[in-house]
Symmetry: C2
Subunit: 179 residues, 2 copies
DNA sequence: TATTGTTATACTCTATAACTATA
DNA sequence: TATAGTTATAGAGTATAACAATA
């Protein structure tokens, strides 16, 4: 994907800019959360699928894929693994036999609940440095920023930054790999 | 990598847990920052290398790679591209000719400065929803959390969560792909 | 022999496009 | 014909290991 999240320890170089701070905290969370989530087939996405199956109602594979931002072909593999692990089942929609509903098994429900609880533990661990009030504060601030982010998600404007860039001089291209 | 950051829009399913909020905000930042950074060969990591070369002093490839958490073989490809684009140069260390120092060119310095400025614009854009005071507040909170995260980075403990898990019942393995 | 950097190879993940079945 | 799901193929990215030069 080639994004900043790929780089763990850059403290000395990059200072306190938002990208670094967000990346550091996010990675910290992901690193710890993975200890919990790697147990699940498909990792984080596997968990998200199970969670959606548990909390959503009889979603089709397509619906799931769109909601989670996962490609439908990937969803197939993911569900193969989850089904093989006995965490979800696929059942043809009687109304339209092209659709296949994804339903959690009892085992899937249990795993989902257990994982949610453990992830709350991970949160507490990551935010340990902050008081309860400060944790709420952080959540509130992130929530507001995220709200705007999700609203703008459809890639619509991507900010004024774009128009600034349009006026920029051309830059060297994007990594052509030699033979 | 198989981490949560791979999933863009899961608002309906995952609620307001930290992972979701962090992921949403981080992705928002990365998405916008990429508009700026994708111009640079090697993307975000290319920028980090240039930045390190500009602000650090005569780092060897190995030093760079370790500091940025990049594999040394990847660093070779990265520098090939950056050097081809005329942004950095490699020069053998007179003291130990096995080492090669990475130095920025004037062009690299210019690009670094310009990119830093644009990234500040991206920050402002992402945090637009918050007042200046709130932005400082958010930065402060993230900084404290990140401080702990980076300190604990060497994978030493990874929190008590681990020990909790050690006592857990075994889970299905990790995605064996069928033929 | 150990270390820095490079090159070659294999593997994982993802994206694309065909293919099947239902409508 | 269009859609949901599956399967197959190709590409990008990463990791691993062998290699060359220097110490």
């Amino acid at each position: 994907m080639d994004s900043p999240e790929a780089c763990p320890t850059d403290r000395a170089v990059l200072g306190d800019d938002l990208g670094f701070l967000l990346g550091a905290v996010f990675r910290s969370y992901v690193r710890t959360a993975n200890i919990v989530i790697d147990q699940i087939p498909g990792g984080a996405r596997g968990y998200q699928v199970i969670s959606a199956a548990v909390h959503g109602v009889a979603l089709s594979q397509r619906g799931l894929a769109e909601q989670l931002g996962i490609d439908r072909t990937v969803m197939t593999y993911l569900l193969d693994d989850l089904e093989a692990a006995g965490l979800v089942t696929r059942r043809a929609d009687p109304a339209d036999r092209r659709n296949r509903h994804v339903l959690p098994t009892d085992k899937g429900r249990e795993l989902c609940a257990a994982t949610e609880q453990r992830l709350r533990g991970v949160e507490a661990c990551v935010l340990e440095e902050l008081s309860a009030a400060e944790q709420d504060q952080l959540r509130g601030l992130l929530h507001r920023v995220a709200g705007r982010a999700v609203a703008a998600d459809p890639m619509g404007d991507a900010c004024r930054v774009l128009s600034d860039l349009a006026a920029e001089p051309p830059r060297p291209g994007r990594r052509p790999r030699r033979s």
